[in-house]
């Protein structure tokens, strides 16, 4: 895809971007990292197909010089894997990573060593990421030794080793430890102090770019604030560029210039921090922000409309939009026009039937366990249907919609789950499950069908036609009316 047009568009939409380099320092395109299970020789002999776990499934990121890009998401969304894969600490399954114009994925050993000098990482857990048998001085100067620094013996008669030790002392002082702690071991330090050691280690080689993988999530709030202030100071002092991975939204808001929100291996929304936090577009971002408890008196007793269910397994992500199984704003097909909560209920029931092995037998069992009284339990389909209507909030439907749902419940009560799922699928297929929404192309970008109109009414970039990722305009034709109507019909956003 054409980067120049993207950059041009970016600077056109926002005047502030002029101050920034045209070309980002780090450019990630279509990054994928799959892990394979059942992939041993033995499995192959038995003819088993490997199953993939799609930890990172097509991530695009730009990190500009001197900025902090935040990557947020819940556990298991692939944010840490993204951070490690783009530094090539893990080999990517597909995708490109350009660092200052060089392709990281294609680097030779020597080039990679040079790259490692320019890009560092601070790990999440300060307890397991420091070698307990090395002194902090050795830990901080290990990188210098590996890169054989200093290149020449210092002029002042110090040996290279002494130079490295002095450098380690400087770094420890800089991150707020004292230089005479250089011969201590990690276990003698508290969590916050260890994280400072980890930061000193990442800074030892004067990097330009640092991946901060949840650097404060293991720390107490008072210490967390110290580390956040330190990271900000270091960024100003050394002109660092950060990729800040975190799950804590208030920390991200505090430290990041731009944010990318991830869900199930994909970036679903990205943009300037204030735009994301003040006017989130994606329903998932909205739900995340809504869920965070604020530390103020107004928070008392606030009830959050929590997202239902858990994050689906990355082994078998939902078709189309990955978030559709939990999305409160999932788009209704043209043929259906019911209140959104009830549509959500129908989709929940379908989802349970299709993805979670929901069975009529377990409903009967539950009903039986609740049944008390002396007469023996009898299977009554009326009670069965009522229980499901209660659970999935399906009361008050009417017309054809009600007939379909009642039909499906009747079929389900007779123990034919697949048929019931099929009936619901025929009647209620959402445009969201047909195709994966693409991340739009502007500064505040979102991957959601609700915003499809805004994106695709814009001029289609001629350079992108023919690119599978850009095939949106073509793919959309068959169900164009569906998607358009769906988003138009969704009045409550």
């Amino acid at each position: 895809m054409s980067e120049s047009t993207r950059a041009a568009e970016e600077s056109a939409t926002d005047g502030a971007a002029v101050a920034r380099d045209e070309e980002p320092l780090l450019k990630v395109r279509g990054l994928r990292k799959y892990y394979f299970e059942d992939d041993t020789l033995f499995d192959k002999l038995l003819g088993r197909d490997p199953t993939s776990v799609k930890a990172v499934d097509g991530v695009d990121l730009d990190v500009h010089r001197g900025e902090t890009l935040g990557v947020v998401g819940e556990s298991g969304c692939g944010k840490s894997t993204t951070g490690e894969t783009l530094l090539r600490l893990r080999e990517a399954t597909a995708g490109t990573v350009e660092f200052d114009g060089e392709d990281v994925m294609a680097m030779s050993r020597e080039e990679l060593t040079r790259f490692r000098k320019r890009a560092g990482i601070v790990f999440q857990d300060p307890f397991s990421s420091l070698d307990p048998r090395m002194t902090v001085g050795d830990i901080v100067s290990e990188g210098l030794k590996i890169h054989d620094l200093p290149e020449e013996s210092p002029d002042d008669g110090r040996s290279k080793r002494e130079w490295r030790r002095d450098r380690a002392k400087e770094l420890l002082e800089r991150v707020g430890l004292s230089a005479d702690q250089i011969d201590r071991y990690p276990h003698e330090f508290s969590g916050g102090q260890r994280q400072r050691v980890g930061i000193a280690r990442a800074l030892a080689l004067d990097p330009e770019f640092v991946v901060l993988d949840e650097p404060v999530s293991a720390l107490d709030v008072s210490v967390q604030a110290q580390i956040l202030n330190l990271l900000e100071d270091l960024q100003t002092e050394f002109g660092l560029t950060y990729l800040f991975i975190a799950h804590d939204l208030s920390v991200v808001r505090h430290i990041c210039d731009r944010v990318a929100v991830m869900y199930l291996g994909e970036v679903i929304e990205t943009g300037p921090t204030d735009a994301i936090f003040e006017s989130p577009k994606h329903p998932y971002t909205e739900a995340l922000l809504e869920s965070v408890p604020r530390a103020s008196v107004e928070e008392q007793g606030r009830r959050v409309d929590a997202l239902s269910g858990d994050v689906p397994s990355p082994r078998n992500p939902p078709s189309g939009c990955h978030f559709r199984t939990r999305c409160p704003k999932v788009i209704q097909p043209v043929t259906v026009d019911i209140p959104q909560e009830q549509y959500r209920g129908v989709m929940d029931l379908r989802n349970r039937l299709e993805r979670q092995g929901f069975s009529a037998a377990s409903v009967w069992e539950t009903l039986e366990s609740e049944h008390d009284g002396d007469e023996p339990f009898e299977r009554d389909t009326v009670v069965f249907k009522e229980a499901l209507r209660d659970e999935f909030d399906l009361h008050g439907l009417s017309g054809a919609t009600m007939d379909t749902v009642e039909d499906a419940l009747e079929i389900l009560a007779n123990g034919r789950e697949d048929e019931a799922a099929q009936r619901l699928r025929d009647g209620f297929a959402s445009p969201c499950e047909e195709e994966d929404p693409l991340l739009s192309d502007d500064r505040h970008a979102v991957a959601c069908h609700l915003y499809a109109d805004e994106d695709y009414d814009a001029d289609v970039d001629p350079d992108r036609v023919g690119n599978p990722m850009a095939g949106m305009a073509d793919v959309r034709q068959p169900d164009a009316d569906g998607a358009a109507n769906g988003s138009a019909g969704d009045g409550d956003r």
Partner: protein, 414 residues
């Protein structure tokens, strides 16, 4: 509250609000380790009312979890509850022990610390129960979730049939039973009716397909679902006081919101009192009516939510609130508390305010033990363990910044 003033006399329950279900006075727990005596909980006093959520907030190592364990007498060796009283309101229990243990009874209140061990044990379940922090490691991985909850139900059921005969419950597992169980490993403890009750409980806490999920093992549950199962287990005895120790710390925010909603529903429907222990001030703000802030084993400030969040007196509380980035209105720079949480070794603590070495407003008055003072701003329940509740800060009395850096001898001279 005025109960602290009466701390010297140790007869009877502390005075308090008529709705109190729990009044804790001067509870202290020590751990006797090889490195020395650790004062994990240091004269903690607070009260919990009917149907309210009382929050205890503090950083790691501040003693909040040990406080919870001390309440229900679950502190393990080398730790021991060394002092204090836990007054629990239960008219029947009070009647039962009024003659036998007059010291342990005051009106409807019973001091559980003075009751025989077996009775204390019998209170776990119907009176107190606990939701632990890490659901993954708190459930037995080799027993199905339903079975584990049914066990709890069964224990409570046998207990109700035979109140306070603790031997008939879990104890008394002698050689005969051991041999029987070895020969017949499938001899279940649970019955069908307790399993049905377990399924009901699972449904009550919002687990879909409860009948089916009950037969699954903990590893087949997600973190949020396991935490729900833990809550179901804690509800088996229909407790008066539910102690939730960091119930959402291991969970993502969207799942955290679900669990907090669930706890709120349970508390409103059943009128259960909840003691909510967490490090997250946001969770406290959403859930709690009254709050205690812990630091170094002490409750340094307590009061209603607005006392603590709007008009904090203790510099630690102020520092804690200044340390968290605000989601809606980010400040350009955070105001952290300098330094680190102290170790709680007895010999290093000294008889002074434990926060003085990190406190921006430390004065010479802070070098003596500080008792709990009534704090002026806010409601009349607002107390703080800080001299600033009694007097203004003055530069003249301020400690020099390097006061605590000087060595022991210098400190000893003062």
């Amino acid at each position: 509250m005025s109960d602290t003033a009466a701390a010297g006399e140790s007869r009877g329950a502390p005075a308090g609000h008529p709705d109190d279900v729990l009044r804790v006075r001067d509870l202290s727990t020590r751990f006797f380790t090889e490195e020395g005596q650790v004062n994990a909980v240091e004269s903690v006093s607070f009260t919990v009312r009917d149907g309210e959520i009382f929050g205890i907030v503090g950083e790691s190592g501040s003693g909040k979890s040990v406080t919870a364990l001390s309440l229900i007498d679950l502190v393990d060796s080398p730790g021991r509850v060394t002092g204090g009283e836990v007054w629990y309101r239960d008219a029947d229990l009070a009647e039962e022990f009024r003659d036998r243990l007059p010291d342990a009874v005051d009106g409807e209140f019973v001091d559980t610390r003075r009751l025989p061990k077996g009775v204390r044990r019998a209170l776990r379940g119907p009176a107190f129960s606990m939701v632990f922090q890490d659901p993954m490691s708190s459930l037995n991985p080799s027993v199905t979730v339903g079975e584990q909850i049914a066990e709890a139900v069964e224990v409570q059921r046998r207990a109700t049939a035979n109140p306070r005969r603790t031997r008939s419950r879990t104890q008394g597992y002698g050689m005969g039973k051991l041999i029987a169980d070895t020969l017949l490993p499938n001899r279940g403890f649970t019955s069908e009716s307790s399993m049905n009750r377990a399924i009901e409980l699972l449904e009550q806490v919002g687990i879909p397909d409860p009948a089916e999920r009950a037969h699954e093992y903990p590893h087949q549950f997600s973190g949020g679902m396991l935490q729900r199962a833990m809550i179901a287990q804690a509800l088996a005895g229909e407790p008066d006081v539910l102690i939730a120790d960091e119930p959402t710390t291991a969970l993502d925010v969207t799942i955290q919101a679900q669990i907090l909603n669930l706890l709120r529903d349970l508390q409103e429907q059943a009128g259960t009192s909840v003691v909510m222990i967490t490090h997250d001030l946001g969770v406290i703000a959403r859930m709690c009516n009254r709050v205690g802030v812990m630091y170094a084993g002490q409750i340094v400030e307590r009061g209603t939510l607005s006392d603590v969040f709007e008009t904090p007196v203790h510099p630690y509380t102020q520092g804690l609130l200044g340390s968290i980035p605000d989601l809606d209105d980010p400040a350009p720079r955070l105001q952290p508390i300098e330094g680190n949480v102290p170790s709680l070794l007895d010999e290093e603590m000294g008889g002074r305010c434990f926060f003085a070495d990190r406190c921006p407003k430390a004065m010479t008055d802070c070098l003596q033990p500080i008792s709990e003072y009534d704090a002026d701003p806010g409601s009349d329940e607002h107390t703080a363990r800080c001299v600033l509740a009694e007097r203004e800060f003055s530069e003249a009395d301020a400690l020099p910044p390097d006061h605590f850096d000087r060595n022991e001898e210098v400190r000893g001279d003062e």
